[in-house]
Amino acid sequence: MLKNGVLKMKNEEQIKKDIETTFGELVKVHIKRRHRIKVDAPKNMTLPILAYLKQRGFHQFTLLTCVDWIKKGMFELVYNLYSLDYNVHVLVSTHINRENESMPTAINIYEMAFDYEREIHEMFGVEFEGHPRLGEFLLEDWKGMPPMRKDFDTRAYVEEKFNVKDLTKELFTRKEQPYRGPGSNG
């Protein structure tokens, strides 16, 4: 993996240059290593970049994923595209607010986004504008918080729902004494 770093990365640099010249400074392009390019784009630029890349021959919509950056209050959406000709994965990443922000759907550009967006909607609660069927996908009759969010505590949920005890308790921990400063601890 490391050895790839020293080889020439013609394709990667070409794509980097092209994206940069087409979309200007707001879009940051990093070559992470051979075969991998990461593009940080603002929300409104994301779909145009996808459309541009599709036209450049990035036929494969490898995945769409979401990362919950709860401390920043953001969802990061990562669109992973692949081109057979360039042999490069471009990961287009964009951030949206955790609450009350939606993302326009990408299904008009990539059909494959259909199920991925359904999954992200169900697991994170991200709304995709213009998606025809954001409904139940993997979970049936799910009520409450989408489970993949960082603030969803699955162990507490399991304890309550399946009536099991002591899941949140660690089975073996050292009895830690409260620290009360030097000399004051018996």
């Binding site: 993996m1 490391l2 992470k32 075969h35 991998r36 990461k38 036929h59 494969q60 919509f61 490898t62 995945l63 994923t65 990362v67 919950d68 990562v78 992973n80 057979l84 042999n87 994965h89 990961l91 059909e111 494959m112 259909f114 199920d115 991925y116 697991m123 139940e136 996908f137 993997l138 979970l139 049936e140 489970p147 993949m148 960082k150 969803f152 699955t154 162990r155």
Partner: protein, 371 residues
């Protein structure tokens, strides 16, 4: 349960293994015996792996992560290890790399054997699964000897494999692959050149090049459509660039027959790789010490790693915040592309009797789509 509306039928195939290695159902609307619409219905196997991995230390995820794909669990372990190794810039010992290649290719063989049996089963050739799955057991015996488990191996670890190969193991591997190669001729007679199979499979369930590219199909299914794309060649992971092997490209029709035959020839290539790996394997250590499993940290960053599984391109997107647990792990199962969207597309207009063969020939594995 079928509701009859004029001449339309609406019913479910599944959730009892609708021609896929797992529970999944397809909601089918049919006219006569021709399917007019199909809608995959998932959720029978969703265990929330991605959530569970976030709650466990990096090392503790090895026993968990491989359960995503049951027919071929090793790919998950190796990918997860690869992701950590890439983020932490670990050099894996040579010997471990060779062992990983042997494990991965044996797993591919066993997955293909299961696949041959499954496809044959869907068209009523019940002798084939008796043979292939019986022979697959010899591979499982090898795994048991090497890793201590028949199906779930939990053999990989950060920076290598957990144990060195036992004495005489290489010879037994070679003996088994020799046997399997010999058996291929029997399979040819019994299945691959069987007139029923040829008649049933040719021209059915065509995924042409355009459709394959449009629906991000990968792996043998894509290759059977005439696109020569194999991760092992395009982006050689581990040490695949050291081995001489071909990616068969004589099948370009994209029908069920091509898909099966594509795998049949890839089977031979895998045997080649195993032989080379066994011959070239150097001596040396097989893993690195991680010292403290509870404090093992992975550098901050994100990585997308992928490899070629028996079903297609399998990828992990791993995000680390520098802590003792993964921050996010997304599994890109190949079935997510060819099991859902592609099926919606190709099943239209096919015969009900063929649908389970078509699905099985695509090698849809619902667990990797649902996780």
């Amino acid at each position: 349960m079928a509701k009859i509306r004029d001449f339309d039928y609406e019913y479910f195939i599944g959730p009892q293994h609708p021609g896929a290695t797992g529970n999944m159902s397809y909601h089918v609307w049919a006219e006569g015996d021709t399917i007019i619409k199909i809608e995959p219905n998932l959720g029978y196997l969703h265990r929330g792996f991605e959530k569970l991995t976030e709650l466990r230390h990096w090392i503790k995820n090895f026993p968990l992560i491989l359960r995503i794909c049951v027919p071929e669990p090793d790919i998950n372990e190796v990918l997860y290890a690869m992701a950590i190794e890439e983020l932490n810039e670990i050099d894996v010992p040579e010997r471990a790399q060779y062992i990983r290649i042997i494990v991965l290719e044996l797993a591919r063989l066993s997955a293909y054997l299961l696949y041959f049996g499954g496809v044959a089963g869907t068209i009523g050739l019940y002798t084939v699964p008796q043979w292939t799955i019986g022979d697959r057991d010899y591979i499982l015996d090898l795994f048991e000897e090497l890793t201590g488990g028949r199906v779930y191996h939990i053999y990989q670890t950060i920076g290598g494999v957990r144990r060195d190969i036992p004495e005489g193991f290489k010879e037994r591997v070679l003996k088994t692959v020799d046997y399997l190669e010999k058996r291929l001729k029997d399979y040819d007679n019994l299945f691959f050149q069987h007139p029923i199979f040829e008649k049933r499979a040719k021209g059915i369930g065509i995924v042409d090049k355009d459709a394959a590219l449009r629906f991000s199909v990968t792996g043998p299914n894509l290759r059977a459509a005439g696109v020569n794309y194999d991760v092992r060649k395009k982006e050689p992971y581990l040490i695949y660039d050291r081995f001489q092997f071909d990616v068969p490209d004589m099948y370009k029709d994209g029908d069920t027959y091509s898909r099966v035959m594509q795998r049949r020839y890839e089977f031979e290539e895998s045997i080649k790789i195993i032989r080379q790996a066994a011959a070239d394997m150097p001596e040396g250590p097989v893993n690195i010490k991680i010292r403290n499993p509870f404090e093992y940290r992975v550098k901050e960053g994100s990585v997308y790693v992928k490899l070629e599984s028996s079903k297609g391109e399998y990828g992990f997107y791993v995000v680390s915040d520098g802590g003792v647990k993964p921050y996010r792990l997304h599994v890109r199962g190949p079935s997510f592309s060819h099991g859902l969207q592609l099926v919606r597309h190709i099943a239209k207009g096919t015969n009900i009797a063929d649908i389970s063969m078509i699905l099985f020939s695509l090698d849809v594995c619902p667990p990797d789509a649902e996780r």
